[in-house]
């Protein structure tokens, strides 16, 4: 199949960040943001597959209404650990720690991030957190649900809650350090001429994400610390029998966890904002609107947390306030979708794999986001809260949106990161298989939810079976779609064609250096004189040697 990639003969640069130094020490003690990004790539892929195995087991179990495959306790552990792994150890770090780490210093024309050692430290903290999580899993598992609601998790379950909670706290600190690094880098390390108004939208998105990371994650840390203290010492902060309030836990938990979903999606939106202009050969439509939408999402995201609690016991009046604000936070996302679509208008579109993922993102994120409007509608939320409708909604956004964006980004920057191109046919196939599998898995769940099937059910009423079987069938297809890139991306490392510095002829400073880049990124500090997406101003995008 055809591809935009230039296929002129390229050779790998003699020295680049991957071969500059050999040996395990040079990797484990690296301060190079690109190597750290690769370390993250490997680690989060491992957690993605672990979380994916749990998902597969869940869908297998749900093929029958009686729940014969696993015991209820085991099932409860499966969905808890699926959620915890996917959210804290895959989704939150995925785009920022892998793609952001790699690409942001290049995009701002810097040698590295502001604090390279802290970058490495953030990876180690992530690994420590992941280790705690793995220990919790193998030594009996956790069955609180990823939301750890009290008093269930503080006094009624006898699984390794504290170990898991410690793992999550470490993962949280890892993301705080990443966010801190990004903020300082974007403020202080831009190349000459690179004003805020010329920054690529990937940088804007990750910047907004970083603000959320540093402000929201500490609240999760303290909430989980208090939960751990309550479990360990039986103090009464969230336990009603000792005078505590279980709903307070929910407020504190969601105060982080709602902004967390924006931590997860905003970087993905940044990736889409890079891919669409490149493969439409056209500057982004409404640059400032997209940039400020990212900031608006970050800000509004902090004031909508109680929309997870409409039936939990908050007052009618607070519920109304939170519902209203939740509609406000939907608008900037809608604005972005419209701007991306408008970017393709009168463009010169080529359907390479990153573009396929980006288009899939736009469609699926739109559906997922619109179903958020259902959930924000107070009277309707009463019916669909805690049902499969919610599960479908967030999977549309997180998998149909975020994972697609992540894969699109990995494919887009793969040549830059590895110097190789992936096999286009296999990649396109994987993208299509993923899209089909995804829709078959999760669309029936909207219907299941409206019919009344609750979440976290190990067994269900027989009338729900047909849709569950459809969903599980889709999951098997989705699994294939996710495994394929694992295979061909690895294959491309040895056998893929050499990419050259700018196979997509994209704008952006990261393409102005070799693929893979040298350890110090640029041979001389670039000077920026143009806007971010200066496509069309002469199709040739020159490479500064």
């Amino acid at each position: 199949m055809s591809s935009t990639a230039e296929t002129a003969e390229h050779v790998m640069p003699a020295r680049h960040y991957l071969n500059d130094n050999y040996g395990i020490r040079s990797w484990l003690l690296t301060k190079d943001h690109k190597r750290i990004a690769m370390l993250y790539l490997i680690s989060i892929t491992v957690f993605f597959f672990i979380g994916g195995i749990f998902a597969a087991l869940i869908r297998l179990h749900l093929l029958t209404p009686g729940g014969e495959l696993f015991s209820k306790d085991v099932y409860n552990k499966l969905f808890t650990m699926h959620g915890v792994n996917m959210i804290f150890f895959f989704l939150v770090p995925s785009v920022p720690a892998v793609l952001g780490n790699f690409v942001i210093p290049l995009m701002v024309g810097a040698k590295d991030l502001a604090f390279p050692k802290i970058n490495l430290l953030s990876w180690y903290i992530y690994i420590i957190g992941g280790t705690f999580s793995l220990i919790a899993m193998v030594s009996g598992g956790v069955d609180t649900g990823w939301t750890f609601y009290t008093p269930l998790s503080s006094g009624f379950l006898h699984t390794n809650v504290i170990t898991m909670v410690v793992g999550v706290i470490f993962a949280g600190f890892s993301s705080i350090f990443t966010g801190l690094n990004f903020i300082v880098t974007v403020h202080r390390m831009r190349a000459p001429g690179l004003t805020w108004g010329r920054l690529p939208l990937m940088v804007w998105s990750n910047y907004a994400t970083s603000i959320i990371m540093i402000l929201a994650t500490p609240v999760l840390a303290i909430t989980l610390i208090l939960l751990g203290l309550e479990r360990g010492f039986h103090i009464g902060i969230f336990d009603p029998k000792l005078g505590g309030d279980p709903v307070l836990f929910q407020h504190m938990f969601w105060f982080y966890s709602h902004p967390a979903v924006y931590i997860m999606i905003l970087p993905g939106m940044g990736v889409i904002s890079e891919i669409i202009p490149c493969f439409s050969r056209k500057r982004i439509f409404g640059y400032s609107f997209v940039a400020f939408s990212s900031i608006a999402i970050a800000v509004f995201g902090f004031v909508v947390w109680a929309h997870h609690m409409f039936v939990a016991g908050i007052s009618v009046y607070s519920a109304m306030v939170f519902s209203l604000l939740s509609y406000a936070v939907a608008i900037p996302s809608a604005v972005k979708v419209f701007n991306w679509t408008a970017t393709m208008y009168k463009g010169s579109v080529s359907m390479d794999t990153p573009m396929l993922y980006a288009m899939g993102f736009i469609g699926l994120f739109t559906i997922g986001g619109l179903t958020g409007l259902f959930l924000a509608a107070l009277g309707l939320d009463i019916h669909i809260h805690d049902t499969y409708f919610v599960i479908a909604h967030f999977h549309f956004i997180m998998v149909g949106g975020m994972v697609m964006a992540y894969l699109g980004g990995v494919h887009y920057w793969w040549p830059k990161m590895t110097g190789r191109l992936y096999p286009e046919a296999a990649a396109k196939l994987a993208a299509i298989v993923t899209f089909i599998g995804f829709n078959l898995t999760f669309f029936p769940q909207f219907i299941l939810g409206y019919m009344g099937m609750p979440r976290r059910y190990a067994m269900y009423s027989p009338e729900f079976q047909v849709l569950n079987v459809l969903s599980s069938a889709g999951a098997s297809i989705l699994a294939v779609g996710f495994i394929l890139p694992g295979i061909y991306l690895l294959w491309s490392l040895k056998y893929g064609p050499v990419a050259g510095p700018n196979p997509w002829r994209a704008t952006g400073l990261e393409w102005q250096t070799t693929s893979p880049p040298p350890t110090h990124n640029f041979h001389q500090t670039p000077v920026v004189t143009q806007d971010a997406y200066h496509y069309g101003a002469g199709e040739e995008v020159t490479v500064v040697p």
Binding site: Y149, F156, K282, F289, S323, S348, L373, L380, I382
Partner: protein
């Protein structure tokens, strides 16, 4: 109201389908119509402020319509009408227990009549559960430290699912029940056929005497506790001059944590019954106190001069209560 929830749902489905299709068709159409061909290059368009405004304002407007509609529904769903049939429910790992005003009890099963609003007052014995009847489009989390209400009016006889929809541990998915809706005549017959030791209120009256509540809570002016006749549903003035509503949660709190709210003009001498009275009995006492309702409307403040209990009386009062308790319920705990 279920039909109205469905109407909002349908509206949202239409809006979502419209916008999803719009975006999907646009991107697919643009990808094909403007596909890369030799000799044709993209047109660099910076943006259009007008378009940005249009596609901000229109979604905002639609959102506001949805918000108002949803809020209106919520407001009604969260406010039970005044003369509903009152049923009391207790959720515990992993079952539902219901008590009717006339004393019938059920486990994992709820019978209700058509044509009359039904209000279920719920509390949990342990963790947070959630009372969910999909057919009625109602749901309410059931908390362990205060009563929550859910109401509905069934229209069509039949049996419907009751699910617990807040993850509550091992048997969360097994904590299901059946709501049986019957025509009023059938419902009355069913009530008759149920075994009941007595109505909730009459059982509550027995508790009230058994635990010595009558010692202090009397209508005469020398009583050491506020008069409870006509209390329920009326505002009460507290010692710190706050005014609170005497609802189910107020009664329950007053029994379990009496010093949290002291009525104006009374001393904090009421002992706590936490650990003594369980949720079943609590519901009976609440039902009894409700049955003592009258209609006057001013804040209850039936003690105008504080300190009317003479201090010397208090030890006598407590001694008397101790004696009463030992006589009637030897296993009762005195804190």
């Amino acid at each position: 109201m279920a039909g109205q929830v469905d109407a909002l749902y349908l509206f949202l489905v239409l809006i979502s389908t419209f916008f999803s299709l719009l975006i999907a068709i646009c991107i697919i159409y643009f990808a094909i119509r403007y596909r890369k061909t030799a000799g044709h290059s993209a047109e660099q368009i910076h943006g259009s402020t007008l378009l940005e405004i249009v596609w901000t304002v229109i979604p905002l407007g639609i959102s506001m319509v949805i918000f108002v509609w949803g809020a209106w529904l919520y407001f009604h769903l969260e406010r039970p009408p005044a003369h509903a049939l009152e049923i009391y429910g207790e959720a515990k790992q992993w079952m539902w227990k219901f008590q009717y005003p006339a004393g019938q009890r059920e486990i994992n099963s709820l019978h209700v009549p058509t044509g009359q609003p039904v209000k279920v007052t719920l509390i949990s014995d342990d963790v947070i559960h959630s009372f969910f009847v999909p057919a009625f489009r109602v749901k309410q989390d059931v908390l362990p430290n205060r009563y929550r209400m859910v109401w509905f009016e069934a229209t069509t006889p039949g049996t419907y699912h009751l699910f617990c929809s807040q993850y509550c541990g091992t048997n969360h998915s097994a904590m299901i029940g059946e709501v049986t809706v019957m025509k009023p005549e059938d419902f009355a017959a069913w009530l008759e056929s149920g075994k009941a030791e007595g109505s909730l209120a009459s059982m509550g009256e027995k508790m009230f005497q058994q635990y010595g509540c009558t010692t202090c809570h009397r209508p005469d002016s020398g009583a050491r506790g506020p008069n409870l006749e006509g209390l329920f549903g009326r505002p009460v003035r507290l010692q710190d001059n706050r005014v609170v509503l005497a609802d189910e949660n107020y009664i329950r709190e007053s029994i379990l944590d009496p010093n949290a709210k002291i009525v104006n003009g009374f001393q904090p001498i009421m002992p706590t019954f936490r650990g003594v009275i369980n949720e079943d009995q609590m519901v009976q006492i609440v039902a009894y106190i409700k049955s003592m309702s009258q209609q006057t409307g001013e804040p209850l403040n039936n003690r105008s001069t504080p300190g009317q209990i003479r201090d010397t009386e208090v030890p006598n009062v407590q001694q008397q209560m101790q004696q009463d308790n030992q006589k009637q319920k030897p296993t009762g705990k005195q804190p």
